[in-house]
Amino acid sequence: MDLKLTAEDEAFRREVRDFVRSAVPADMARRTRRGGHTPKADLQAWNRILYDKGWVAPHWPREYGGTGWSALRIHIFEEECAAADAPFLSYFGLRLIGPLLYTFGSPRQKELHLGPILRGDVFWCQGFSEPGSGSDLASVRTTAARDGDDYVINGQKIWTTEAHYADKMFCLARTNPDVPPQKGGLSILMFDMNQPGVTVRPIVTIDEGHSVNEVFLDNVRVPAVDLLGEAGQGWTYAKFLLGNERVSNAQVPRSRRDLQLLRARAEAPDASGARLVDNPDIRQRLAQLEIDLAALEWSVLRVLASPEGERTQASASGLKITGSEIQQRISELAYDLLGPLGVPFYGEDDVAGDLPGFASPDVPGVAARQLFLRAASIYAGSNEIQRTIIAKQVFSL
């Protein structure tokens, strides 16, 4: 064991920092700091900047466009991106379907899809959850029936993030109704969102923002060659994904940045010279969060440093639980610090000028963010489900 960063790692951090700080446009950084749902244009633009630099998918294997960095360096890179208020790249291509494709996809599928994901030309959404199938994902009822060279898909998806601007969906569907879903009954199919039979209806969430949708699939025709990997392997692939998703859902770099900004806000004197951080209760809550985040960060590093095969689902689940709770707690403290300015509703367009409560420009977005983050303990496998996984895997309970 060697628990220190090497001089080379430090040099690497400086190199990344120099690039990222100058590469993020100021208005984009401001929008990221505000913390709403990132506009597609920002996702695309930042994706392109990183692509041109060769850094868009550090976690991918080199042969598919990765950087070959160690897990630690990837973490340093992500931390620097967050510290510079770079947008968080769209998840579904780079984090979910991309790794699925290079691990299980056919040569044709890799050829067709990986490049556009890296370039940010094609955005994806994940069509897994359904009204009747959330935690019990294997029970999905959307069907994909073979018809000649095609599959014909029928069903309804819900909570589909970014479906309103995604170009493609990867969709979990029942391809064989005669065998149990976990034993060959499910497959993943990839198709264009812009085609007859696909209807997207927005769902407004409690923060009054729009990032999730309902998607209705009505006789959507998909060529059989667009079934990911092998038919009947849907459940295996889904589990592979959820494991991936949970590690990155620890969201350490982002939480670190949020906490930094929060501390800065608490330390800034107001017009009469008073500082929130002088309140002992607030000082302690900040300290507690910093300590808990440090623990989470080192847990992430430990998991990332272990060989891929030895990573257990349980450790990934642990990171997801802690990571989501820390995100929620940081956002709650930020909201608490607003005092009475937590009462007004601030719309998406409230960025400057005479804001309600004569608030400073960093106030809008804070209330909305803590509301939206209630979802962090629900999505990507609810925290109750993660605890069940740990109890089963580690203790056979």
Partner: protein, 383 residues
């Protein structure tokens, strides 16, 4: 001690409960609240007819002889039904303050209008940076030949978007945080120099900021003078805090009932999710939290007529306990609903937002915790 309701109180609760049950469904009301005032004028007329607007006032002041217990009974039901109406601001906080200001010549006339549902009042005490400190008053009141000239800014005036008049704290003399020197003034909407900037709150009600630029008011508009202003405001804010707490109790209990129903009907893995013990226990914890909160509601109410230092300490204890319980209950209500709990179309998230706004009305967690601690320190020094 007697925790049972009197016959009149039970009738009041039943009529409030019936009113809320018979009002439009929550979803419809929430959508309506987005437009206009954030509440229904029809409701307001009904409140007047039902006698609710005078329920917390002594008979001498034109009310029906009740007090904060009666107000709490009504407010709890309004919270339960997510009814957005300025009852707390107008009929409890402002009317209660007016009732105690016997030197104010318009006292009875104003209260009569309030009780009849013909006048909406809002309390304007918060200023940029004041963080609930009622003594932090930079808004200035200067004496003129005819009365007073007010200048300053007030923010987050609850229910200020629809108020017919504002009760504004302003400083006649002293420094920004002195308790002495603060007067309370009645400023009607439309007075030259007064700009009202309305907006809606996180939970869909109406609030406003005020800009007072050389607002001229007659000398009779002073509701409370500089020697008693702060005391009257402090009493009013403590009653308001307990009123907001009652609203929270109703909202909490409704969120718990809604969650319990959901656990019985939502099925995953072939059974109602309420059969998963972790969820059943969570619901039990929510119940326990709400029970403790109710105890603190009654305890806080019982101290409202105590000497000021004791009253402040007890109200702060209640507000801390209830705000913490509300956070837990509101968050878990969403959590146990899963994805649907995140949808703006589902009522459960609205309960959470209502609880959050109530938690930030008339002192937030940080304010009340600090006030409790300061009260303790003062007692130790005094002893």
């Amino acid at each position: 001690m007697d925790f049972s309701l009197t016959e009149e109180q039970a009738l009041l609760r039943d009529s409030a409960r019936r009113f809320v049950a018979e009002a439009a469904p929550v979803e419809q009301r929430l959508a309506a609240a987005r437009q206009g005032d954030g509440f229904s004028r029809d409701h307001w007329s009904a409140f007047a007819e039902l006698g609710w607007l005078g329920a917390a006032l002594p008979e001498e002041a034109g009310g029906f002889g009740g007090g904060m217990l009666e107000a709490a009974i009504i407010l709890e039901e309004l919270g339960r039904g997510l009814v957005g109406a300025p009852l707390l601001s107008t009929a409890v906080v402002c009317a209660g303050l007016l009732a105690r200001c016997e030197g104010y010549a318009e006292r009875l006339a104003t209260l009569e209008l309030v009780v009849a549902g013909e006048s909406l009042l809002a309390l304007a005490t918060e200023e940029p940076g004041s963080r609930y400190d009622l003594a932090h008053v930079e808004t200035a009141a200067r004496e003129t030949a005819e009365g007073y000239r007010l200048s300053g800014r007030k923010i987050v005036v609850l229910d200020g978007a629809s108020a017919d008049a504002f009760m504004v704290s302003a400083r006649l003399f002293g420094e920004a945080r002195d308790r002495r020197g603060i007067g309370v003034f009645m400023v009607p909407f439309g007075t030259p120099g007064l700009t009202v900037r309305p907006y809606r709150t996180l939970d869909g009600r109406g609030a406003a900021d005020l800009v007072l630029a050389d607002v001229e008011i007659p000398s009779g508009a002073m509701v409370a003078g500089p020697d008693e202003g702060w005391d009257r405001l402090a009493e009013a804010a403590d009653r308001a805090a307990m009123g907001a707490a009652a609203d929270c109790l109703g909202a909490m209990e409704a969120a718990i009932e809604m969650t319990a129903d959901y656990l019985k009907t939502r099925r995953q893995f072939g059974r109602p999710i309420g059969e998963f013990q972790t969820l059943a226990h969570r619901l039990a914890d929510m119940f326990v939290a709400a029970e403790n909160a109710r105890s603190m509601l009654y305890r806080g109410l019982s101290f409202l007529d105590a000497p000021p230092a004791e009253r402040a300490r007890a109200v702060s204890a209640s507000k801390v306990a209830i705000t913490q319980a509300a956070a837990f209950v509101g968050q878990q209500a969403i959590q146990l609903h899963g994805g649907i709990g995140m949808s703006e179309e589902h009522p459960v998230g609205h309960f959470y937002k209502r609880l959050q706004v109530a938690g930030k009305s008339y002192g937030d967690l940080t304010f009340h915790m600090a006030r409790y601690v300061d009260g303790d320190a003062a007692r130790e020094q005094g002893a």
